[in-house]
């Protein structure tokens, strides 16, 4: 009897050892994409499309903060944005937006590195996919440079935000070079968008002549967007928050006095009794933006009319009062794209700058650009100077914040950030 039991036990052990050695203890996780699997060149398109996704997501996530902080729209809702609507922004207010921007930057930087590590130098240098990756990298660097106070790149120590413009310029240049080597025509959207992106960051680095040279290559009707998709996990948040909900309004903004400008479409919302509807906070009149009235609506990253306005600004900066005529001409070319009547020529440089500032604000309305504009114009000591950042109710006392600080999460987790 005992020997029978022993044999049964031994037999069971022999039978079960292979079971133990096999993968029964492995976790099965279909749907999870392992890091190693992305080293396959066949996966590179997904890697680059992912960069586009991240870029769009970053633009969408920054939009609410940028809009409230720069004053493009006013908070009329129920979300607790801290003091951002009053122009005061704290590290704990920006964890989400900061993180999405950082991830978008990381995926392009490391995605390009990954492709470079797998492809031959020849294939890498002549790949349209690589050119596209560089283009997305340029735009995310530019976004970060324009909205943050200090740049933090790949867990390193903080650097001046202008570092991002240098990185962006280099990437736009790579996109043009590699795209051209890949056989893309000069009219290809990747090439044109790279010129548009490079024009803007070149200007921000102070080379207005270089900026004009690039801007001239972009047709007036051209537009290149961060693509949002309501069917995916990447929809236009502003469209939802101003149409499905009444969180933000143009009431109390500069644009409330410019009803009818096709670049800044908005309408008053009325309730069932014909009274002006109020925002989700129950009190603020609802002037509803209609630039994004669908959650599928994309956010422009660069466009030809922006290039014309950029060239107009270059004319004023370069030639002063002598450049007013050229500037107004360029602005009118841009307005013509929107079927708007031409502007009359201002009588002074100050008036010309005021005109230019409004034209630029309207042209890039809700495109994540205005915060940078008010910042650089405020810091400008010449005729471009604008006092928006000073609280009109208490001049000289309180300065509105003009950039997104390093987030609380980054400060708490990155030992290189003091």
């Amino acid at each position: 009897m005992n020997s029978i039991r022993k044999w049964i036990g031994l037999g069971t052990l022999v039978l079960l050892l292979p079971l133990g050695a096999c993968n029964i203890l492995d976790v099965e996780s279909p749907g999870k994409i392992t890091d190693d699997s992305l080293n396959d060149p066949d996966a590179f398109p997904s890697l680059v499309y992912g960069m586009s996704y991240n870029l769009a997501n970053a633009n969408d996530n920054v939009e609410e903060i940028q809009t409230l902080l720069s004053g493009e729209m006013w908070h009329g809702g129920s979300y607790d944005w801290g003091k951002i609507p009053r122009g005061i922004i704290l590290p704990e207010d920006v964890d989400g937006a900061w993180s999405w921007m950082q991830q978008a930057q990381w995926v392009t930087d490391h995605g390009v590195e990954r492709m470079q590590g797998v492809l031959t130098p020849e294939d890498f240098g002549s790949s349209a996919l690589v050119a596209e990756a560089y283009l997305y990298g340029g735009f995310i660097d530019r976004l970060i440079g324009e909205v943050v106070c200090e740049a933090v790149i790949d867990s390193a120590a903080p650097q001046p935000n202008t570092v991002e413009f240098e990185r962006a310029k280099e990437k736009f240049t790579k996109a043009i070079e590699i795209g051209t080597a890949a056989g893309l025509p000069a009219s290809d959207p990747i090439i044109l968008a790279a010129y548009g992106g490079r024009a803007s960051v070149t200007a921000w680095l102070g080379d207005w002549a270089g900026a004009v040279a690039d801007a001239q290559k972009v047709p007036a009707e051209f537009e290149f967007d961060a693509i949002l998709n309501a069917s995916a996990n990447n929809s236009n948040t502003l469209a939802y928050e101003t149409h499905a909900r009444y969180e933000y309004t143009l009431w109390g903004t500069l644009f409330a006095d410019h009803y009818g400008d096709p670049r800044v479409p908005w309408d008053t919302v009325f309730d069932e009794h014909g009274a002006v509807a109020v925002g989700a906070n129950g009190s603020t009149p609802m002037f509803q933006q209609n630039k994004y009235d669908n959650e599928d609506d994309d956010i422009p990253l660069t466009h030809g009319t922006e290039m014309l306005v950029l060239r107009a600004e270059a004319a004023l900066r370069t030639d002063g009062a002598a450049g007013i005529g050229e500037a107004i001409g360029l602005l009118n070319q841009a307005r013509a794209v929107y079927d708007m009547s031409p502007l009359s020529t201002p009588g002074s440089l100050d008036e010309a700058w005021a005109t230019l500032r409004y034209e630029r604000e309207a042209t890039v309305f809700l495109e994540n650009r205005h915060l940078w504009d008010v910042r650089r114009w405020y810091e400008d000591t010449g005729p471009a100077h604008d006092n928006y950042l000073v609280d009109a109710a208490d001049p000289g006392q309180e300065i509105r914040d003009s950039c997104i600080p390093i987030s609380r999460e980054e400060r708490n987790s990155n030992p290189n950030v003091p």
Partner: protein, 1011 residues
């Protein structure tokens, strides 16, 4: 004690399963028969469910409703018959069996508050007397719940076992609760205890019930209270070591009723009743949060700039001026048990329907259960347990949901449902806001749940001292949640349809063997060994579709816009084995030592097996003659042990997530950075206590102190966002402490032939501290709750008014301060029963949970919108005080206007400097859970009622009163959709009352018949 490298999982599995083949041939013998009746010594009434065994053998049976038993095929000779029953003292006597004849042995049992002879099986490897067990075991038996208005096992546990927290979460009929044992001992993993039903492990996680219902389905809801024989609860690592890696949250084992020898015995239960709503919102709010929708004097909001009233009307308000209804409660149960000498069965079925306190709410719950035991010999038995439960619930929108009942009705002019359709608002005067909240009932949010459980258990005892038990279990849960705003819905006219499916399968193989030996008269040994393998498959999907072309019954293809949201499948395995030795000295001192070795698929690739040791001592001092005679029973006990909690299934993986890029291109983005070194967190617990029975069984007291230390706790470490991966990396770096005191008291203070007054109480005091969280010192766990090093955890943090009672003063606000515990740390339950002539029974039960805070988002959101009535007077004063610039606390202020207003009230009612911290309130509550009055019809009458053997009628009221300083409706509620929706993924701890429905009162009348 752990093997990080080089020792793979294979040996563990092999060793675990090796024991499964350990068996031996059968043998059988029988020549006589013993029969008898077991009665209550005081009342002389027959006792059902008493266990009758022949000492020193595996031969035994259970009495039926008539208290009778039969033991067939007993070898001729003299045997000692032992009788045990929960709540009664055990007894035994010798009986001589003559071949071919029947011997009779009747027993009369006396009630005792504590019995050390009571048998427990949870956490002990083999069935053991309570006397032998070194840790506390919480128990609830069928007698305790026989008359209570409880529907399922979640209700059964609430308030009855020390250290078990059950929070109801929602007033919607059919909603599941939150269950915790001895608080929280994890930062990032599930806090839910393991659940066993008749020895088979089942899926133990609650599953959220969609965007509409915003509550959860809890597996404990699937076990009908009428089917429960008893429940055992072991609470901490000192007791759960043998369950290993997934058991540090405790173990709940539910035993359903079994068959007994004899003719079929039928039980019929019929219950009818109705729900009645409690007050909604602040108890001092006369508007009842506008659930009273026709009181024009109170129907206005406040313009927070001018102080003007903003009147509103609701033309969709019901004619009786109130949204609530008295929803019907119906419950039907039928069960039969019986059997022969070798085959015993129990079969039951039930159907419950609860229509809630709002129109369209309906929770239906039905199921069948069948337990069968076949014992071809006294050495071998086969048991099959199978159950199917179906839940079918329809929810009214609740919680943080723009179509939520209270979020719309309770928000007055800030409702999302306004303007109506067609001519709804024609009769609303100009200047009066037209709200049309009646459309909230057009939505069709449902949860359907199917739960199957099958378990086969074989017991084989080739020798009287050698026992083997092998179980195979299969547990399947499928839950489908629908949120449906149909075409034409007021604020979503094109319609919305959201479909979420959860499917979980758990396969379990479980073998346990034991060998008992005596070494002389004083020393005995019980050696146990066993192996278990659990395989879980889980899949969770959610998809939504919107913009329908017309009023069709929505499907996933009839809408114009389909959004694919998520699909998360995974499978994981836990396998291991244990060894345990118990040494008994003179049947008084019991020392038990054991180890558990586990492998788990969620462990990192660089991580091997995990070893958990245990040691316990139980010392029955009352067996000594010198011990004070007032004690019928007294046992000292001490236990130390470890168990663990596995990481989430994906925590070890570095992975990317698929996303739809551009207009449909496949893209990827970083998901989780993973941790290949990850292992389980290990909780080591020490508990000391005693069980005492005094004064001829009239008083029982059990008390325990415990201290649990969780090392290598899984801490989500925040990585720099600039490093690309936005999710945390889970690392074994934390150290947590949980400690407390728990006591259970049972007393029978008056006990005569005709009258008995008894009471039972339990109380628990707990405290926790996060000892070490690594360099980051704090972990955010959602909704302003954090775990911070050096503080109790999880706790709410945020703004707090330092001068709350100062009249007319500007609130002094501290930021980022600790506010208090998220979960209760003081629990008590108190029940008392009066019985007259064993026929009329009054049962009253109170429950208290204290030491915790809850976020009153209802008040917070309403106050800053000018629709929180209790703030109106204050807000009028604040407007008056603010002066011309509209800003308080300036030079131009008319400060006198707020001179009599406390600073906390000013902070809470401010429309400018609002913060949820001001509305994070003490949630302590005491509830009169139920009062029942039961009348058992005299035996002379019962045959006239359809020939019944016995009959009783019970009148019950549930949730009659709540005592609490909370300013919301019910401090027990929680918007469950705030929590993680995924099994095995780090959860969140914060709880908030975000326009959640409070629990209703329920009144029922039940009839029970036995045939």
């Amino acid at each position: 004690m752990k093997f990080r490298r080089g020792l793979g999982a294979g040996p563990a599995i092999a060793a675990a399963l090796l024991a499964l083949a350990w068996s031996a041939p059968l043998s059988a013998q029988a020549t006589g028969r013993i029969q008898g009746t077991i009665t209550d010594a005081r009342t002389q009434q027959p006792l059902a469910a008493a266990a009758v065994t022949i000492q020193g053998t595996k031969i035994g049976t259970v009495t039926g409703e008539d208290g009778k038993y039969v033991l067939p095929n007993i070898e001729a000779g003299t045997h000692t018959i032992q009788v045990r029953r929960i709540s009664y003292g055990s007894t035994s006597k010798p009986v001589t069996v003559v071949a071919g004849q029947t011997a009779t042995a009747d027993f009369a049992l006396s009630e005792v508050a504590v019995s050390l002879d009571q048998v427990v099986v949870t956490g002990t490897a083999v069935a053991s007397r309570k006397k032998e067990v070194g840790n506390s075991v919480g128990m609830v038996n069928a007698d305790q719940i026989a008359n209570a208005p409880v529907v399922n096992s979640q209700d059964v546990l609430a308030g009855r076992v020390a250290s078990v927290t059950v929070l109801g979460n929602s007033g919607q009929p059919g909603a599941g609760g939150t269950v915790m044992i001895r608080g929280t001992n994890t930062i990032s993993q599930s806090t839910y205890p393991l659940i066993y039903v008749d020895g088979v492990r089942v899926f133990n996680e609650p599953t959220r019930n969609g965007w509409g219902g915003r509550n959860n389905t809890n597996p404990l809801q699937n076990i009908n209270a009428n089917d429960i024989d008893h429940v055992e609860v072991i609470k901490g690592a000192a007791a759960t070591t043998l369950y290993g890696t997934e058991a540090s949250g405790g173990v709940i084992q539910i035993f359903t009723k079994r068959g007994v020898s004899g003719a079929p015995s039928w039980d019929v239960d019929v219950t009818q009743g109705f729900n009645d709503s409690n007050h909604w919102g602040d108890p001092d709010d006369p508007t009842n949060l506008w659930v009273d929708c026709n009181n024009t004097d109170l129907m206005y909001g406040l313009n927070l700039s001018t102080g003007e009233k903003k009147p509103f009307m609701d033309p969709t308000c019901p004619a009786d001026g109130n949204w609530t209804v008295h929803g019907q409660i119906q419950r039907y149960g039928l069960s039969v048990r019986g059997g022969s000498d070798n085959v015993k069965y129990f079969v039951s079925g039930n159907y419950d329907q609860n229509e809630g306190m709002l129109p369209t709410q309906k929770a239906r719950n039905g199921g069948v259960r069948a337990n069968m035991t076949f014992a071809p010999s006294d050495k071998l038995s086969f048991t099959m347990s199978t159950a199917y439960t179906k839940l079918d619930n329809r929810w009214v929108g609740d919680g943080n949901n723009s179509e939520g009942f209270l979020l719309d009705v309770g928000r007055a002019t800030a409702t999302y449902l306004h303007g109506g359709k067609g001519h709804d608002c024609d009769n609303v005067p100009d200047g009066v806001y037209c709200v049309t909240n009646g459309y909230v009932f057009d939505q069709n949010n449902t949860t359907g749940s199917d739960h199957y459980l099958v378990g086969f258990t074989t017991n084989y005892a080739p020798l009287s001292n050698w026992n083997n038990k092998f179980s195979v279990g299969w547990d399947y849960t499928a839950i489908r949640n629908i949120t449906n705003l149909p075409f034409g819905f007021l604020d979503t006219p094109l319609g919305y349809f959201w479909d979420e499916n959860t499917r979980h399968t758990k396969l379990s193989l479980d073998y346990t063997g034991s060998l008992q030996n005596d070494f002389g008269k004083s020393l005995a040994s019980t050696f146990s060994w066993g192996g278990q393998l659990f395989r879980d498959r889980h899949r969770w999907t959610e998809i939504d579709v919107q913009n329908f072309a017309g009023p069709v019954d929505p499907t996933l293809v009839t809408g114009a816009q389909l959004t694919y949201r998520d699909d998360i499948p995974f499978a994981e395995t836990n396998a291991g084995f244990f060894l345990q030795e118990m040494l008994a000295w003179r049947d008084r001192l019991f020392v038990t030592g054991g180890i558990r070795v586990d492998g788990n698929s969620a462990f990192g690739d660089n991580f091997g097996l995990q070893v958990y040791p245990k040691l316990s001592v139980a010392y029955a001092l009352s067996d000594y003659d010198w011990f004070p005679s007032a004690f019928d029973a007294f046992k000292l006990r001490a236990a130390v042990g470890e168990s663990g909690k596995a990481p989430g299934a994906f925590d070890k993986l570095k992975s990317w997530q698929a996303e739809t890029a551009n207009e449909g291109d496949p893209g990827v983005r970083p998901d989780a950075i993973g941790n290949p070194d990850i292992g389980p967190e290990r909780t080591q617990e020490i508990e000391l206590g005693f069980d005492a029975g005094l004064f001829q069984g009239r008083l029982g007291l059990e008390a325990t102190v415990f201290r649990a230390t969780t090392r290598e706790a899984l801490v989500p470490v925040t990585l720099p966002p600039s490093g690309g991966f936005l999710s945390s990396r889970i690392e074994n770096i934390g150290k947590l402490r949980n400690e407390g005191f728990e006591a259970q008291l049972n007393g029978s203070f008056i006990r005569t032939t005709d009258f008995e007054w008894s009471a039972r109480a339990n109380m628990t005091f707990m405290r926790s501290k996060a000892l070490d969280l690594g360099e980051q010192k704090e972990v955010y766990t959602g909704l302003n709750s954090y775990i911070k090093q050096g503080d109790p955890f999880p706790s709410f943090y945020g703004k707090r008014v330092l001068n709350p009672d100062a009249l007319g003063e500007q609130p002094m606000v501290a930021t980022d301060t600790i506010q208090g515990n998220v979960n209760p740390d003081k629990l008590w339950g108190f029940g008392t029963t009066l019985t007259y002539k064993n026929a009329l029974t009054l049962d009253v039960f109170f429950e208290h949970q204290g030491g915790f805070y809850i976020q009153n988002y209802t008040a917070y959101q309403n106050a800053r919108r000018g629709v929180w009535y209790p703030c109106y007077a204050t807000q009028q004063k604040m407007i008056q005080a603010a002066g011309p610039d509209g800003v308080l606390y300036n030079d131009d202020d008319n400060a006198g206007a707020i001179a009599d207003v406390p600073a906390l009230q000013l902070a809470r009612c401010s429309a400018d400097d609002y913060d949820i911290g001001f509305w994070t309130e003490k949630g302590d509550f005491t509830k009169l859970r139920y009062v029942t009055l039961t009348y058992a019809l005299p035996s002379s009458l019962t045959p006239k009622i359809l020939g019944a053997n016995s009959a009783s009628v019970t009148l019950s009221a549930r949730n009659l009163f709540t005592w609490s300083s909370y300013h919301g409706g019910d401090p027990e509620v929680e918007d469950f959709t705030d929590q993680s929706n995924l099994v095995g993924v780090a959860g969140r701890f914060g709880r908030r009352d975000y326009y959640m429905m409070p629990s209703p009162r329920a009144y029922t009348l039940s009839v029970h018949l036995n045939f």
